[in-house]
């Protein structure tokens, strides 16, 4: 079995706690370790407690462990809130400036050394130094990592940080002497990357040819618009910060209608506003990609806590009935791949596609094997060719032609011979408003039959472990579930679902028939995925829900305890 160590670094928000952790993760990843960082912060700019929990291993890590080996505290709260999670041989380290008079806590001169060699804020570097020394990490590795992250701030800052780091490495702390570092790696070093779900989604969108992003800032989706605002101008594209989410989604519809691959990214409160746009895209058969990085709801809820409770609203999204696709990545790699798929599916089926992420998937940095360059398959769907176009250039192109597949050729404004109308009203084949009942039924049926060819595409990933019961999940829970069954040696088969709408009914039926009990694990109160599956498939007597809705991600030991209980029933 692989080994794991978990370090929690916590302090006052706005003082660089997260970046300290990320620097450490990068340095460790650089010398072959795998890391996973779970961030906790509050919905405020400065002040309040924040932490990053980092699990380090010799094998890929997809969630943090339930217990912590080292706590590094810059404030009292970090100790108070987390010491109950400390493992038996765990260690609590705190800045001596805090004056913690507790025998179990080792005080370190973090601020003192930082002040001595540079400035008080360099206590972060100082902490990395002590941690690096304890973990037996070569100082040179940390030096490189720190140099890279501070080089923009100039030579003086870099040099001072180097001195602080050196200070930490050379300061003797009696209580830390003789502690073992992390095991030396045996395997050869793979090329790795460190990114979080939002990074992978942005990268996937760029690779898919997305050139227009309209969005409104919201936690935990904002990184996507931020990345796009940096990258798109160089690609002759545009990230536009809209006045609200309604404008954002509607702008994407306009860009897509005009022929540009576009995307917006939001979270629950924004998604609620975007329902109008989903309906417009559905009715006008305009391709649309919307990322929903879920957080705790309802209303403003807990903006910086994890939840997967948008699903039910999304599954039934909008008034009226229209076809829509919901993709659900469960890993960083899937965030990348499914984003590319989302753009293809949106254009192939001319409908809205939701990419459903969640707080922990979107915001947890992770070491992964490097994503390799591969020219993605770009499928723009059915686009009108010369022979389909109107010779007289009159307004009569059949944009909504009643085809066997339900999918009609698109044409972009500017094309001679393609003039037609688009409207959110029910319409005829040329896009003219019509409320005649014959036409209505034909158009509803046309839109409804678009997914016939999609239904068969595989969207379940199953890992068999000789289990009698199956646990199915989606999103960031997958990383927890996978780790749970492995670390606890559970005989439970596990699966995750990559496409929730249209639900892969036949695949699920086939899979479910093999088990007497099916656990559906999700982070919401009412078991929303379980509800959808029961509604579409039945299996009421087999399905059990494993839910959590306190804002914190599932923890492996809790999941293991519950699954074991159900296995033995």
């Amino acid at each position: 079995m692989s080994w794991k160590r978990t370090i929690l670094i916590g302090g006052i928000q706005g003082e660089g706690v997260a970046s300290t952790g990320i620097n450490l993760m990068k340095a460790l990843s650089g010398i072959g370790y795998y890391t996973y960082g779970e961030r906790k912060f509050s919905s405020r700019i400065k002040g309040g407690n924040t932490h990053i929990m980092i699990t380090i291993s010799d094998e890929p890590v997809t969630c943090v462990t339930s217990n912590i080996n080292i706590i590094m505290a810059f404030d009292h709260e970090t100790i108070d809130e987390n010491r109950h999670l400390l493992s038996e041989d765990g260690l609590m380290l705190a800045d001596e400036k805090l004056g913690m008079e507790d025998a179990a806590i080792v005080s370190l001169p973090l601020t003192k050394l930082a002040k001595e060699h540079g400035s008080p804020l360099m206590k972060n570097t100082c902490a990395i130094g002590f941690l690096g020394k304890m973990l037996d990490i070569d100082r040179g590795v940390l030096e490189e990592s720190i140099k890279r992250s501070y080089q923009r701030k100039g030579e003086k800052v870099v040099n001072e940080n180097m001195l602080v780091l050196h200070g930490a490495y050379t300061t003797q702390v009696e209580k830390l002497e003789g502690r073992k570092g992390i095991p030396v790696l045996s395997q050869s070093k793979q090329e790795v990357m460190m990114l979080m779900g939002n990074d992978a989604i942005a990268l996937g969108a760029l690779m898919a040819g997305c050139r227009f992003v309209a969005a409104y800032p919201i936690t935990p989706a904002s990184d996507i618009m931020e990345i796009m605002s940096r990258v798109l101008p160089d690609e002759e594209g545009l990230m536009i910060q809209a006045e609200d989410e309604i404008a954002a989604v509607t702008m994407c519809i306009g860009a897509s209608y005009a022929g540009v691959r576009s995307m917006t990214a939001t979270s629950g409160p924004g998604l609620t506003l975007m329902m109008e746009g989903l309906g417009l895209a559905g009715m006008t058969e305009t391709p649309l990609v919307v990322v929903d990085a879920q957080r705790s709801g309802p209303s403003t809820g807990m903006p910086t806590r994890n939840e997967q409770s948008d699903l039910a609203a999304l599954y039934h999204a909008g008034h009226g009935e229209f076809p829509m696709i919901i993709l659900s990545p469960s890993t960083i790699e899937e965030c990348y791949e499914l984003t590319i798929d989302a753009f293809n599916l949106a254009e192939e089926y001319q409908c809205p596609v939701i990419l459903l992420s969640d707080f922990n998937l979107s915001l947890s940095p992770q070491t992964i094997e490097a994503i390799r360059y591969r020219q993605p398959d770009i499928n723009r769907g059915v686009i009108a060719v010369e022979k389909d176009l109107m010779e007289d250039n009159e307004d009569a192109f059949e944009r909504y032609a009643l085809t066997e597949t339900g999918i009609s050729p698109r044409v972009f404004p500017g094309t001679k011979g393609g003039i037609h109308k688009v409207t959110g009203l029910e319409h005829t084949v040329t896009g003219r408003p019509s409320d005649r009942k014959g036409n209505r039924a034909k158009m509803m049926n046309k839109r409804n039959r678009k997914f016939a060819s999609l239904q068969d595409q595989n969207s379940l990933s199953v890992e068999e472990r000789e289990g009698k019961i199956l646990c199915l999940t989606f999103g960031s829970n997958w990383g927890v579930l996978k780790t749970t069954v492995k670390d606890f040696g559970l005989k439970v088969d596990i699966a995750h679902i990559a496409r929730i709408k249209p639900l892969p009914v036949d695949q699920l039926k086939k899979l479910f028939s093999r088990y007497s009990k099916i656990v559906i694990m999700e982070q919401n109160q009412r078991g929303q995925l379980a509800g959808i599956i029961k509604q579409e498939l039945g299996f009421h007597d087999k399905i059990i829900s494993l839910t959590k809705y306190d804002g914190e991600a599932f923890r492996t030991k809790d999941v293991a305890a519950q699954l074991e209980r159900w296995c033995n029933e």
Binding site: V260, I371, P413, K421
Partner: protein, 290 residues
């Protein structure tokens, strides 16, 4: 090209005598005068009687959702700068449900034209109060008469930094054609507020009422549309009841210029397939040495 070339022959749903007929003819005439190829023009509209206008043009047309013509129109233009994009809608679209889009579109200054067909009442819902309904106007939703201070489109637009603001009147079609042409020619966002009487639900602000109350810029003593102070003061003095080009600022940077899009090819022509070199660049920050 003439007006008929821009008509698709669909008979409008409007009441006979509606001011919107003249707005439709004016767009068609303006397009004909400017010789805009039919396929290079897109009319994007909102919801209401006015929203139907995109459906009557022999050009590309997008009839969006209530209040949302501007988000669609702006992104269509930004996606394909070769298109002439005209957004159109009613006073509910522009000054109620889509008010925020109106203000932000003005601020952005994307090179499109927005025609607000303002009849001071909600016609298609069969007679409800509008944000520009005159105080006292009795409607089905305000049986005692509208009480809230009406929105003042001119002051609002100029306050938000409009680079082009004009007002027209359905009964002055020749002038309206010229205003729309000037709006389309203007480099940046042009807002044209058009008094387009509803003959069914607004018995106060009728054609005759406007003929009696509206003054031209000349009559108002406003002879320099580049003069913002004068524009603001005549709008105030006339309570907005004037027509003509009220304010025009040339040389104001457009959104396209500010965002380095002006010299790019139309966005739809940018190749989608990423190269290995681009991939390297985009992933640099995820690499450990990045």
């Amino acid at each position: 090209m003439n007006m008929k070339d821009y008509s698709n022959g669909v008979h409008p749903t409007w009441c006979p005598g509606c001011g919107d007929f003249s707005v439709l003819r004016s767009i068609q005439l303006a397009a004909a005068h400017l010789e805009i190829p039919r396929e290079k023009m897109a009319v994007v509209s909102g919801i209401g009687c006015s929203g139907r206008i995109s459906g009557y043009m022999n050009t590309y047309g997008f009839h969006s959702v209530h209040g949302r013509s501007l988000p669609v129109a702006q992104s269509v233009k930004l996606s394909n700068k070769d298109l002439t994009v005209v957004a159109a809608g009613g006073d509910g679209d522009a000054y109620a449900i889509g008010m925020s889009h109106t203000l932000h579109a003005i601020r952005r200054n994307v090179n499109i034209t927005y025609l607000v067909m303002n009849n001071q009442v909600y016609g298609l819902t069969k007679g409800h109060t509008s944000p520009v309904s005159q105080v006292g106007l009795k409607t089905k939703s305000a049986p005692e008469g509208a009480q809230d201070t009406p929105v003042h489109p001119g002051l609002l637009a100029l306050g938000a930094g409009a680079s082009f603001y004009a007002q027209g009147f359905s009964a002055e079609q020749e002038e309206l054609v010229e205003l729309i042409k000037a709006g389309i020619d203007h480099k940046g966002f042009s807002l044209i507020n058009i008094f387009s009487p509803c003959i069914t639900y607004n018995k106060t602000n009728t054609y005759d009422w406007f003929r009696k109350h509206l003054v031209t810029c000349e009559q108002a003593g406003h002879d320099d549309p580049e003069n913002l102070t004068s524009a603001l003061s005549v709008l105030q003095e006339t309570q907005g009841l004037m027509r003509g080009i009220i304010f025009r600022k040339t040389g104001e940077p457009t959104f396209e210029e500010n965002h380095h899009l002006a010299n790019n090819p139309p966005m739809i022509e940018v190749p989608l397939e990423p190269t290995a070199e681009k991939f390297q660049r985009w992933t640099a920050r995820f690499r450990l040495d990045g």
